[in-house]
């Protein structure tokens, strides 16, 4: 026996070392507190991340010196272009902020609850796991900056992942293309929900969408908010390919909106609030219109008949577009319906937000039938102009038409304000060719 061990000493040691590691693996797998960070992980990350931080800062400094002091070719021309772009964007901002304000008012009227990102923290990506089989990155912010596990990590383009482990001055972020990641997702136009998961090859797949559904290529995928990590409505990506899966579900490959292979700066969502837009309106520093206050205090008013609403709508001045002075009948009726609902449901929604199903169905009709493009020539009366009679009177002639994307039926279908608190992009609304029978609903 002694001969055996002395003869195969190295092989025996190999077996022992392997056995110890397998045992260690087994302990880790079975341990209930898997969320706790192991000491070895803590040591290694604390040893490696300072070097990575130094490398990132050095490369940034070099690039900064080069870009700011030497490589200035074409800067003047670029500056001129940017100034022109700023002017254009300012004009667009005025238009969009008006749309957003109107959307908020409509949401208030519907008792619409929304989640919004109220606080973010910018962080620099300083490293990866170094393994193709583990899609994680490290950022230069940690527990000292207030980061906690399960915080969402996003970029301006879309979501990136979530904070998995937090160290003192760095954090590990699990990317959405990792196999162990899961994100509640919803398709933008069809409103089909599924779960976005990564694969070992680094792809992202939308799962659990029934195979009898039609999912067109190029459709945008948004967060559904169902995972309680990512706020609802953040862009995830676009549908790249759809295949029938082996089971009842489709195999939908999604191209992430954020470039996960070239991340430099990210935003960690440190605070998500769920408030009604009423609170937002109350907190907003801008002047509150008398019409809004009035709308909140109005008692329940029975829905207006379509004809009355139509006539009310036709009186409403058009949105700074003389060409749109001839509203289609259907549109007017639709607007009247929205207004009627607004006037009717606001107090009810305040009292019991969840008990106003009818109130939430009607705007859906309006949304689908009478959604108007802000700049469309055929955009007639405004929602506020018909529903809130006083609001209509108070609204200046330059007011925008019906909200670019009115709130949807379930109170969660449409996100008017994006995560950064910016006005959402106006949705491409269909032309207003709603038949009158729909509008009378």
């Amino acid at each position: 026996m002694e001969n055996f061990f002395s003869r195969y000493r190295n092989a025996t040691l190999l077996v022992l070392v392997l056995f110890a590691q397998v045992l260690g693996l087994a302990v880790q797998v079975k341990r209930p507190d898997t969320s706790g960070t192991r000491l070895i992980r803590f040591w290694v990350v604390n040893a490696v991340t300072p070097i990575e931080k130094a490398l990132v800062k050095t490369s940034q400094s070099v690039r900064g010196v080069w870009g700011n002091y030497f490589y200035l070719r074409g800067v003047r021309h670029e500056n001129r272009d940017l100034k022109a772009q700023v002017e254009r964007l300012r004009i667009e901002q005025v238009r969009l902020s008006e749309d957003a304000a109107q959307a908020r008012r409509l949401q208030v009227l519907l008792g619409f609850k929304e989640q919004f990102v109220s606080q973010t923290l910018a962080a620099q990506v300083i490293g990866t796991s170094g393994s193709d089989l583990s899609h994680v990155v490290y950022i230069d912010k940690g527990s000292t900056d207030g980061l906690k596990p399960d915080m969402a990590v996003i970029t301006a383009d879309g979501i990136v992942g979530k904070v998995l482990r937090v160290f003192h001055n760095s954090s590990q972020v699990l990317l959405i293309n990792d196999p162990s990641s899961g994100v509640g997702a919803i398709l933008e136009s069809s409103r089909l929900q599924g779960i976005l998961q990564g694969t070992a090859a680094g792809e992202t797949l939308l799962k659990y969408v029934m195979s009898d559904e039609k999912v067109p290529t190029g459709e945008r995928v948004l967060t559904s908010g169902g995972d309680r990590i990512f706020p609802k409505g953040l862009p995830i990506g676009t549908v790249q390919q759809t295949n029938p899966g082996g089971d009842l579900f489709l195999n939908i490959r999604v191209k992430p909106a954020a470039n996960l292979s070239r991340l430099e700066e990210v935003l960690v969502v440190t605070k998500v609030d769920e408030t009604t837009p009423q609170q937002k309106l109350a907190e907003s520093s801008g002047p509150v219109r008398a019409a809004d206050i009035l709308a909140e205090r109005l008692p329940s008013v029975p829905p207006k008949p379509a004809a009355a609403a139509s006539s009310a709508a036709s009186v409403q001045p058009t949105a700074g577009k003389p060409a749109s002075a001839t509203p289609a009948t259907g549109t007017s009726a639709a607007s009247g319906q929205t207004g009627g609902v607004a006037g009717t449901t606001k107090p009810a929604a305040n009292a019991a937000p969840s008990s106003a199903p009818s109130a939430r169905v009607t705007p859906e009709t309006t949304a689908s039938k009478a959604a108007a493009k802000p700049s469309g020539a055929s955009t007639p009366a405004t929602a506020s102009g018909t529903g809130q009679s006083s609001a209509a009177a108070a609204k200046p002639a330059t007011a925008k038409p019906v909200a670019t994307k009115p709130p949807a039926s379930d109170g969660q279908k449409t996100k008017q304000i994006d995560s950064a608190g910016q006005p959402a992009k106006p949705a491409a609304a269909p032309p207003q060719t709603a038949p009158s029978e729909d509008l009378s609903r």
Partner: protein
């Protein structure tokens, strides 16, 4: 071109090298940092496994199974700590690779580029196979064995080994 025979005939012919403690620590650490940092800028770099290459280099140069095994285990465990997966996956794979490479280093000449390409490429496949088996069977991670990708990665790692080993050769000292 060296006239050294490919297969050694006796242990007396084997030249064993050693490294200073600074090199022994710094080289694996730099390999880990570069492996974690460079794919941020050059995504394709992720196909290389620098900690693996360093493991193989130390294993075949020191020509001690124990040293190769321990080098592989330590580098692998540290590499595991940077991932989000259970600690021990790379540890096991690199322990096996280190042990195997040092065992082979005792028997064959690993100084010429052709052998380095073959040894590194071959042990890369072993490393990936061990990783795959452990991840799939012990941890239950859903993984697919991608032949083309793995073979290509083995080739690239083998080519990288020729360059890297050439650089690291400067640090070795004869015993």
């Amino acid at each position: 071109m060296t006239d050294m025979p490919l297969v050694r005939t006796s242990r007396e012919e084997i030249e064993v090298y050693r490294f200073g403690p600074v090199i022994s620590v710094l080289v694996p650490l730099m390999a880990l940092v570069i492996q974690a940092f460079v794919p941020l800028r050059v995504h394709a770099f992720g196909v290389l496994d620098l900690p693996f290459l360093v493991t193989i280099f130390f294993a075949v140069t020191r020509r001690s199974q124990l040293a190769g095994m321990m080098t592989g285990a330590i580098i692998g465990l540290v590499q595991d700590a940077l991932t989000h997966q259970a600690i021990g996956l790379y540890g096991i794979a690199k322990t096996v690779a280190g042990y195997g490479a040092s065992s082979l280093g005792v028997k064959i000449d690993v100084e010429n580029p052709g052998t380095r390409l073959l040894v590194t490429g071959g042990f890369y496949l072993v490393h990936q196979a061990v990783y795959f088996l452990v991840a799939r069977n012990i941890l239950g991670i859903a993984m697919e064995w991608l032949w083309v990708r793995t073979l290509l990665a083995a080739l690239l790692n083998g080519l990288a080994a020729i360059i890297l080993f050439g650089v690291l050769d400067r640090f070795k000292r004869s015993t």
